[in-house]
């Protein structure tokens, strides 16, 4: 097989480690983020949760090497990241699909730009479509798909090249609650099968507890990590998380942190 792409079979099996060390970001005079330290183990599912505008998205862009930190460094498998990370798949809140490409062709953009073997990637893309419930959507254009399906295509695009790292910035934020629960489960299954490292940004407590190995709770701007919660619920986790008493305990803890920070002002 032609190996000009950045992804190799060896790294595809497990994720890479990511470390953010003393990372800060200011926009002009405004300190938007940090300093924060994050250490992700290979194959770990880590969620960053925090109020709007706390710098969650900035954290993800910095981790992806798409935005330079004002201070501090990002290390991937011990190496300092000084350019956009390529052994990665990214999903944003908006699907950001190319309207002029069919669903399958949007996913195959990865193959074209990375110069990966067409046959192999197309087979993987079709497998992903099946796993994500996208059968029959291959030849449809984004505008012909529902919001949930577009986001599923976007996830397929982020995974088709078997990256070691998956970065997701509020990927289910624009979806309705029922679709969100299903797609959360589908993502968990994909992750269990592939074990890439996932950095997941959200403001939903349910998603954070439902998906993660570890939840990092961020304060308001300038965002800092104020608490780290290990979630050791069995996987795959059910649709209705209330089944677990531990779920309520974890959720309570995040609520109380937010109350202490003044994110919630209940009387």
């Amino acid at each position: 097989m032609d190996g000009t792409g950045t992804t190799t079979q060896a790294t595809a099996v497990a994720g890479a480690s990511i470390r953010l060390e003393g990372v800060t970001k200011s926009f002009g005079e405004n300190m938007a983020l940090g300093p924060i330290d994050v250490a992700m183990e290979p194959g770990e599912f880590v969620t960053v949760i925090g109020p709007s505008g706390c710098g969650k998205s900035t954290t993800m862009l910095i981790a992806a090497g798409l935005l330079a930190p004002t201070a501090g460094v990002v290390k991937v498998d011990g190496r300092v990241l000084d350019r956009p990370m390529t052994d990665v798949g990214i999903v944003f809140q908006d699907h950001l699909l190319l309207e002029f490409r069919t669903a399958l062709s949007n996913v195959l953009l990865q193959q074209q730009i990375r110069h990966l073997p067409r046959q192999q990637i197309e087979t993987r893309a079709r497998d992903l479509f099946a796993q994500l419930g996208l059968n029959g959507a291959e030849k449809r254009y984004p505008r012909q798909l529902s919001g949930g399906m577009r986001q599923r295509v976007s996830i397929a695009r982020a995974l088709v090249h078997n990256p070691s790292i998956l970065l997701m910035d509020e990927p289910f934020g624009a979806l309705d609650a029922i679709t969100r629960t299903q797609i959360r489960h589908d993502l968990e299954l994909l992750w269990l099968e592939r074990r890439m490292s996932v950095l997941f940004i959200t403001h939903s407590i349910e998603e954070a507890v439902g998906l993660s190995d570890r939840v990092l709770v961020m304060s308001q701007s300038p965002g800092r990590i104020v608490e780290e919660i290990r979630i050791d619920l069995p996987r795959p986790r059910p649709a209705h998380l209330g089944e677990y008493p531990q779920f309520a305990a974890h959720a309570d803890r995040i609520y109380s942190i937010f109350e202490k920070l003044g994110v919630y002002k209940f009387k």
């Binding site: 992806a64 990214i90 190319l98 953009l109 730009i113």
Partner: protein
């Protein structure tokens, strides 16, 4: 084909056909009712007869005008689209070009035609140059807005794929701006026909504009009107070609 489909086609054709018949009828009524002299307003049948009698000349001149239009139009697209991209991409380029573009835009282009004739001589060149000048701005402005419209965050994704600037251009920017570029081109076809015919009025020995000028000079109203109809058909053909290539190049759009 089912009965229903046949019926739909008949209904769809009914509107346009009815309009044409109505126009011809009103034309005939005006001519009969007000006793307008034939040398001012010929009857539809006279125009038809003139068309048949001069079909060779009409065809030859329409083809000559078409050649000017296509040449000027292609040059216009080839210059305007890359220029739009440069203006959107490089800030200094925008500052560099804008004064010139605005001045050029507000000079009435038809007035420049005699100048073009003096500078470029007689032949295809000055006429195509006028077509280019007239079609340039709609294409440039629409292309600029097309390139600007692209969601910048898509480049986060392409950068994470390791895309080069050239790959971004061909995979994302060009197809992304295509609908706007085509919108500009469609607006421009109308200007293109006007530009070509204006240039032919001012200095030419062939083309549909030349033919209209000659025939009206001879007070040959049937032939004048036949040529006017030919020029309209020219515009229709151009628009149809544009629509067909749009369907071919942009299958993702909803075409009407």
């Amino acid at each position: 084909m089912t009965m229903k489909q046949v019926w739909t086609i008949v209904l769809n054709l009914f509107g346009p056909v009815a309009t044409v018949i109505a126009v011809l009828a009103i034309w005939k009524c005006i001519e009969q009712g007000w006793h307008i002299p034939r040398y001012l307003l010929p009857t539809p049948s006279e125009v038809y007869a003139a068309t048949v009698a001069n079909v060779g000349a009409l065809w030859r001149n329409t083809a000559a005008t078409m050649e000017i239009i296509v040449f000027g139009f292609v040059v216009s697209v080839v210059v305007a689209v890359p220029l739009a991209f440069l203006i959107v991409t490089f800030h200094f380029f925008e500052r560099l070009c804008y004064p010139l573009i605005i001045i050029l835009q507000f000079i009435p282009k038809t007035i420049v035609a005699p100048l073009l004739l003096v500078w470029l001589g007689i032949g295809v060149l000055p006429k195509s140059a006028l077509v280019m000048l007239m079609t340039f701005f709609p294409i440039l402005l629409e292309s600029i807005s097309g390139f600007r419209l692209i969601d910048k965050r898509i480049f986060y994704i392409t950068q994470s794929m390791g895309a080069s600037r050239a790959e971004e251009f061909f995979f994302v920017r060009i197809p992304g701006a295509m609908p706007s570029i085509f919108a500009g081109m469609k607006t421009a076809t109308v200007y293109a026909v006007t530009g070509a015919i204006t240039a032919e009025f001012i200095g030419s020995n062939e083309g549909i504009g030349y033919m209209i000028l000659q025939a009206s000079g001879d007070l040959d109203m049937p032939l004048t009107l036949a040529a006017v109809i030919a020029s309209a058909l020219l515009g229709v053909i151009l628009s149809a070609a544009m629509l067909a290539s749009e369907k071919l190049l942009m299958p993702w759009m909803e075409h009407r």
